[in-house]
Symmetry: C2
Subunit: 339 residues, 2 copies
Amino acid sequence: MNLKELAKHLNLSPTTVSRALNGYPEVGEATRKRVDEEARRFGYRPNTHARRLATGRAHAIGYVLPADKSLMIDPLFSDFVSGATDVYAAHGFDVMLHAGGQEDEISVYQRYAQGGSVDGVVVLGPRLRDLRIEALNALHMPYVVHGRVGGLDSDFAWLDIDNYGAFYRATKLLIDLGHRRIGLINGLEDFNYAHDRRRGYEVALHDRGLKADPMVTSSGLMTEENGYRQSKRILQLGNRPTALILGSMLLVAGAMRAINEMGLIIGRDVSLIAHDDGLPFLNAQSLVPSLTTTSSSIRAAGERVAQLLLGIIIDPDAELPHELWTVDLIVRGSTGPAP
Amino acid sequence: MNLKELAKHLNLSPTTVSRALNGYPEVGEATRKRVDEEARRFGYRPNTHARRLATGRAHAIGYVLPADKSLMIDPLFSDFVSGATDVYAAHGFDVMLHAGGQEDEISVYQRYAQGGSVDGVVVLGPRLRDLRIEALNALHMPYVVHGRVGGLDSDFAWLDIDNYGAFYRATKLLIDLGHRRIGLINGLEDFNYAHDRRRGYEVALHDRGLKADPMVTSSGLMTEENGYRQSKRILQLGNRPTALILGSMLLVAGAMRAINEMGLIIGRDVSLIAHDDGLPFLNAQSLVPSLTTTSSSIRAAGERVAQLLLGIIIDPDAELPHELWTVDLIVRGSTGPAP
DNA sequence: TATTTTTACCAAAGCGCTTTGAACAAATTC
DNA sequence: GAATTTGTTCAAAGCGCTTTGGTAAAAATA
């Protein structure tokens, strides 16, 4: 069942039916109701591609995951996007996904732009110097960055959490508890978020007259295994830290394993603070002892990014949004006074 | 730059240019080369929607995640789909994603079908009785199920791993090692894969004259927390099992926490076998002791499902594929003789 | 040389929708 | 009562591509 058939069935022109369904004012109330009813009765849906061709709008958003599998933003992605698809669907937008392929992200963007496949994209996991931003600008493709990119002159739309502030406060909390030697098990510091976190950590130490010892920090993949390895390495040092700050719950899983294995007690021998993205499968509160965290819902961020992106697509003249979310520091049982 | 402009620039008709680019035979070698070169030079890409409207093919595949967040197939999804997008891209297909929305899956399928948005869908996480299959049949929408659905008369395309066999062999291995009381921490048994695993477990026990004690089994979300809770509950029983079989690595993370907390030694006091989907962030081999697993790459499965789906889309008359993958039982350090 | 086949190209129709410009009737204003 | 405005409707063009049904020139056949 297509528009023409529906129109013929209703004894109306396709024009009128199209307008009735799309809520244009120049159509009588009676006919509008009649059209709506029959359309529903026949289960009529306009052909997506015809509509897109006619309007010039793709009504789709692109999510392109990095080609390099080792970058591992994966475990977060499902949650990040699951909040978003509902927002898009409410506006009649689809989500197109390209994940971990051979083709690099910028090529995918070019393909999207030239084929008119999407009206905008979400940029995930921005690096310190990220070529994607300038590529997207050149393509005139609307986008919102989840995170920020340093060292760029041009303005761009972003939503980020205050990674700097979060780790600053986490470090400060530990210092206030008497810890003087604090380890950091960070994500890959090529990523802006991890870079910001380290800065927060270092500045907090410096503000209290302490200095960061590279021996007790690390930057790497946020896997359970790496959490285990790094925390073990750091806690086996002669002058071992009394506290660790970790970039993700997966790192914590590994760290707890190492700590248990070494016979140390969390919250007594070694305090732990980690960043918690609110992933449903790894709960900070239910750990024993429950975990002190810097918390921010990645799902909520995904949802909000979707709204922001729709905003700049619908009104291209609107100012580019910048949102910096403060991060909750939730003190639970894994942090205690320095031994 | 569109076809017409490119054609004018080349002093050719749009017809010829289109045919040249799409590899049709009725075009001279010299002109073909000329067209290809100029197209590349101008970065010409056919408009996706125009092509789709003209051909009647969406050149897109739909992935619809369950609306119910509690079902938690999420942590696997990124990996499952990341293997697939490359396969699709190689055939010029896009991936459309709808995740965790208010709208139930069948409604999304209807929307896809009526709007012609996708040429096929992948059905994820099939339940014991799954209404999606019949809905898709009614819509004449090609699909491949990752997993199987019981109790259906109609034939359908699927790729599944041998969950029954995997847990049968895992259980048998433990029995052979002298274990007589073996716990099972399973996924939600509303899912077919978890149902099959329990069957494998129960039949293996039965074959050796043992019977499953409901007290030492559980069926629930595959979260770290649930792994912790259930293993703790089961291991605190008066007559405690000497081995546990677990449905996922996340459950293992929780179980290890419980086991450490109770002062038990893995591989000595309690043996562990878990199913490993090969998620990059949680590595079975690197645990201490390394974990005995039933292993199957969810990424490889995702890739293969993509190939199968493309197969039945490209040739609708082809027979519906059914692939049952055997699961590797990899014996490592977490399994030992019963104490 | 005359006829058929092949090769290389093109004009035009069509995919299903939206949107522009026009038309007609009814309601309002002068 | 004539002129204008308003409210509803429609015919037709157009979005950018593919594809059908040609045609003219070149090559092969008779």
